[in-house]
Symmetry: C2
């Protein structure tokens, strides 16, 4: 409680209006008055109350960030990106998760309805469009992560999985591998679908015939990758390179290769997807597609602050992935 504007005003012998002007850099204050006020402010260690300000201005300079989980390698990078972007814009970040014991609605309700935040960043694969619809009526700045929103005009930021997969497979092609297989994710998963599409697209662009035997099902888990790789190795003509739709499967696949006494990347090149922490720790270090989670958080914040400043930001933002070249591809 470092004093109020009133105290400053009295002490400086001016009105609170003048003090307010000084604080906000309003030029219509005489130089000597300004200096006197500044002096008192310093003397009292006065800091204007963000709450009072928020009440009059209707702005809290705070953005809500709601994630499915916090203690997760990916999500925590989203937070970091959001935090740094928020700081750049002089905003604060209210972080929370969807907790089982309170509904999505309740949480978002409180944050927005109570006016705690100026905007909301939501990341939840299970989020329904209708739920978002309801919110959007309130004309609150809302940005949804990793999910395309159909029916409302909420903004969203997604990661271009297709391009990432494409790039990975092209990398393998340019390495000279001829028989490139893929271990795909579960069919109902949108990301898995996109990554498979990227694989197919790359082969097509380089005139490599698609061999159905080279597309094996995985479950996005370690074990799925391992058994999928065994299937591939048992083929009459096994592939010489594999693109796994995520890192755990890639690492499982590596394990299978090793168990057969084969070497990576000499006998079998492998590229994963996600760039989990473990990827650079396995032997050989896994070449993989990096997900720009940091940028995702940062862009979401910038999208929100942009909206708040009245800039017309684009409704859809697509972030490119990046290929992280390590050893498992043969580089």
């Amino acid at each position: 409680m470092p004093g109020t504007i009133k105290e400053v005003a009295e002490r400086a012998g001016v009105s609170i209006t003048t003090v307010s002007r000084v604080i906000n850099g309003n030029p219509k204050v005489r130089q000597d008055t300004r200096e006197r006020v500044y002096e008192v402010i310093k003397e009292l260690g006065y800091v204007p109350s963000a709450i009072a300000r928020g009440l009059t201005l209707g702005r809290t300079h705070t953005i809500g960030l709601i994630l499915p989980e916090i203690a997760d390698g990916f999500f925590s990078q989203v937070i970091r990106g959001a935090d740094e972007a928020a700081v750049r814009q002089n905003f604060h970040l209210l972080v929370s998760t969807f907790h089982s014991h309170r509904s999505d609605e309740e949480l978002s309700f409180r944050l927005l309805g109570e006016g705690r935040v100026d905007g909301l960043i939501l990341m939840d694969p299970t989020l329904g469009d209708d739920f978002l619809m309801e919110f959007h009526r309130s004309s609150f700045p809302i940005v949804v992560l990793c999910k395309k929103i159909k029916y409302t005009n909420c903004k969203y930021v997604v990661i271009d999985d297709l391009q990432g997969a494409y790039q990975a497979v092209v990398h393998l092609i340019k390495h000279g591998y001829k028989r490139i297989a893929t271990i795909r994710g579960p069919l109902d998963n949108y990301d898995a679908f996109q990554r498979l599409a990227g694989y197919k697209s790359a082969l097509k662009d380089y005139n490599i015939k698609l061999n159905p035997e080279y597309i094996v099902d995985g479950n996005f888990q370690w074990e799925g990758g391992e058994s999928a790789m065994h299937i591939l190795l048992d083929l009459v003509q096994p592939p010489d390179a594999v693109f796994a739709a995520n890192d755990p499967m890639a690492i499982g696949a590596m394990e299978a290769v090793k168990k057969r006494g084969l070497s990576i990347p000499k006998d079998m090149a492998i590229i994963g997807f996600d760039d989990i922490e473990l990827a650079r720790l396995v032997t050989p270090p896994l070449t993989t597609v990096h997900l720009p989670m940091y940028e995702l958080g940062a862009m979401a914040v910038e999208s929100i602050t942009g909206m708040l400043k009245g800039k017309s930001t684009r409704r859809k933002n697509i972030l490119k992935t990046g290929l992280v070249i390590r050893k498992s591809c043969g580089c």
Copy 2:
């Protein structure tokens, strides 16, 4: 903008005082009045403004959490613990990091001075006592993590490293290992010091003579652990078990053992400290001391909310570590 209390009052044909009473569960409202107000509230989708409330009550129901880094396995667990505790207490969490381009002071200043938060949780090994002193004058609830505070009466929560190390070494002793060595951390590190003390204490309590050769320097890094283990293995009488002061060193040590063609835990048992994610992924899975980061965050929040509610909470809180028994100890 789900309406204001004024609109509700008008619509319900009562004064805002009455509406306020209804919202806050004040019993001095006739039943039928209450129902009428509730109806209007529902109809309008009215949610009271937390900002306005904050202004009058001087409480924001928000706690600031400032960490050195966010995208880190440990810190993100602190956030999660804090988040869940905050939700339980109906509080919100404002998360940020000390950013290089703004001073500690500036950040804490803003959060507290501006009245954005009701209390602050600080985690920063470099935090100076004098810095905290200055803040404590303001009688704000502040809790410092993982750092003992001498000169002020700030609360703090620390992890009992000594006890953790003690427990780990005792576990090795009870396994029947006779020659237990340790790879310690850098001497100037308080945690490293505590862990070494725990090691010594355990040996002493079990009447095992301390062999100076069995205390090798490490640097808390992977490589340091590896070279330290080589030193141990080159001894005339190498140890049969090693307690490494953190997991990276333990994993480096495992690597050294493997390179010599020895097996873990048959030829050499190893216990680490920290329980990093990688610990359960190495082969064999590393037995290690788990740091209760989740509890740290949760306890800090509870300490703050306790203070806010006027409970006299203890100034110092010590959290116990827990031994995570996996395979590297021989279990």
